[in-house]
């Protein structure tokens, strides 16, 4: 099993409430862009933070881009104090977002998502419309390449009457 599959299984196994956003969500919607990490927007409910921390510890998550000696304890309390975290794990790079720029928090992502069956897991995936909003809002050079294709997909979908 490769990294995306393992990441989605990890969140399903630990019953983490999250919505898949970013490049994997764009890929699921039809984008041909390549991504190297799995981004999810997570619920900041305390019970969910505990499950999320447990899930990440099980794959030896460490902060990506942080000095090796930076003290960091991966638990619900630490996650509650921060918002967006980027990790290296045994199963690849995983980014967890408390808030998605241009969309909002978990509840807002949840509202604009639907369930897709990915690798035998029922995963919530952000809608195409909100992916476009997120990428446009982020405004980073790497994100600016995504909206033109996503908008073309949205146009195609409306024209052909398809949902996925």
């Amino acid at each position: 099993m490769a990294e995306i599959a393992q990441g989605l299984k990890l969140f399903a196994d630990f019953k983490v409430d999250c919505v898949v956003v970013g490049g994997v969500a764009a890929g699921a919607r039809g984008s041909s862009h390549v991504t190297y990490d799995l981004d999810v927007c997570y619920s900041r409910n305390p019970a969910n933070l505990a499950r999320l921390a447990q899930a990440l510890r099980s794959v030896n998550a460490t902060l990506r881009g942080a000095p090796r000696d930076l003290p960091f304890r991966l638990d619900a309390e630490t996650l509650a104090r921060g918002l967006n975290f980027t990790f290296n794990t045994d199963i690849g790079s995983i980014d967890i977002l408390g808030e998605v720029q241009g969309v909002g928090d978990y509840q807002e992502c949840l509202q604009d998502s639907n369930v897709l069956e990915l690798f035998d897991n029922s995963c919530r995936v952000l809608s195409l419309e909100k992916l476009i909003a997120a990428k446009r809002s982020a405004g980073r050079t790497k994100d600016l390449a995504a909206p033109p294709e996503l908008e073309a997909i949205l146009e195609h979908r409306r024209r052909s009457g398809t949902t996925e």
Partner: protein, 81 residues
């Protein structure tokens, strides 16, 4: 080689009319024939392909790293005892 047959909706992406989102994507440099290929798949198949590609890239990076390491090792002067 077999000629690829496109549906009318796919042709909208492949040969976009001016002023459409597809035309803007094409002008931006997006290869919409790749997008059409993806849209023919189910969401699961799309993510599976992305996952496989990601995995292959990881293997490639590891192979390059290993080759560089071996190159450095062979370039190092041998210790004479």
């Amino acid at each position: 080689m077999d000629k690829v047959e496109y549906t009318e909706a796919e042709r909208w992406l492949i040969e976009p009319k001016p002023g459409t989102a597809a035309a803007r994507a094409r002008d931006f440099g997006v290869d919409l024939s790749l997008t059409v290929n993806n849209l023919r798949l189910t969401p699961h198949e799309r993510v599976k392909r992305l996952d496989e590609f990601q995995h292959e890239m990881k293997l490639l990076r590891e192979a390059v790293r290993s080759a560089k390491q071996n190159g450095r090792d062979s370039a190092r002067p041998k210790t004479v005892r």
